[in-house]
Symmetry: C2
Subunit: 151 residues, 2 copies
């Protein structure tokens, strides 16, 4: 299998497969005489693993750890579960942050006419000297501000 075949089979772009090799996430593929990378069924399985872990939102570093455990026949299932549950906690924290944002936005938008008049409480509040958060219960929102944006 050439890189294009395995890219199709796994859904990972050829670019990314080369990148994963370069950064050491997967081991370097064998080469044909032409210099083309040649992949085995084993490689296919590994890359499928990577793809799925990626779909589940694991970082490349976490996948690296998981792959090590995956390859280790004597691993303890507790180690895997620990990584997975730690990741679940991170996902849930992020969900809460997103929820706080939407709550705030919906609150602001609910007071906005949404017509052709210029007055808009969304802009007014963003520009004012007061804090934005109209939801006093989530007092620690301020600390967790720097994270990924929504595209």
């Amino acid at each position: 299998m050439n890189i294009g075949d395995i890219a199709k089979a796994t859904g990972i772009s050829a670019k990314m497969i080369r990148y994963y090799e370069e950064t050491g996430l997967i081991r370097a593929a064998n080469r044909a005489l032409s210099g083309y990378r040649v992949y085995s069924d084993n490689d296919l399985q590994t890359l499928r693993f990577v793809r799925r872990a990626r779909d589940l939102g694991f970082t490349v570093k976490q996948i690296d750890d998981l792959l090590t455990l995956w390859r280790d026949r004597t691993r303890a299932s507790a180690s895997v579960k620990e990584i997975a549950m730690g990741h679940v906690a991170a996902l849930e924290k992020k969900m809460q942050e997103l929820k706080d944002m939407t709550d705030t936005l919906l609150h602001l938008a609910s007071n906005c006419h949404g017509d052709d008049r210029p007055d808009c409480p969304i802009l007014r509040t963003l520009g004012s000297a007061d804090a934005v958060a109209p939801l006093p219960k989530t007092r620690d929102r301020r600390k967790t501000r720097a994270f990924d944006r929504v595209r």
Copy 2:
């Protein structure tokens, strides 16, 4: 006010304030004879606006649009509301994706002993030829795969 003062007042780092200026999000600050950037109360207000919109998860591009509307005295509140509600929709979509991930992970983890035995359904499933998603209702999960990772 120098850049450090305004950085403290807004919670945006001096680095980022220079970056926002460089990329055109905010207009270039006036300079003192020394070359130091000097900020007015007006600038403070603008940067506070930026900071809050950022806290609400808007991208820099979206903030650019919002700032334009903010400065336009004749804007229609509908335009602002549209941007805000579009953003809410994006946030909600992302939350759903995160929820699908956690559901899948919790499902996998619930079948994992989590002891010192090596057998672990999390790894087994990730490496298998079958699809990961054990939740047939979210059939379009596959399409929306490439997005930010959770740190």
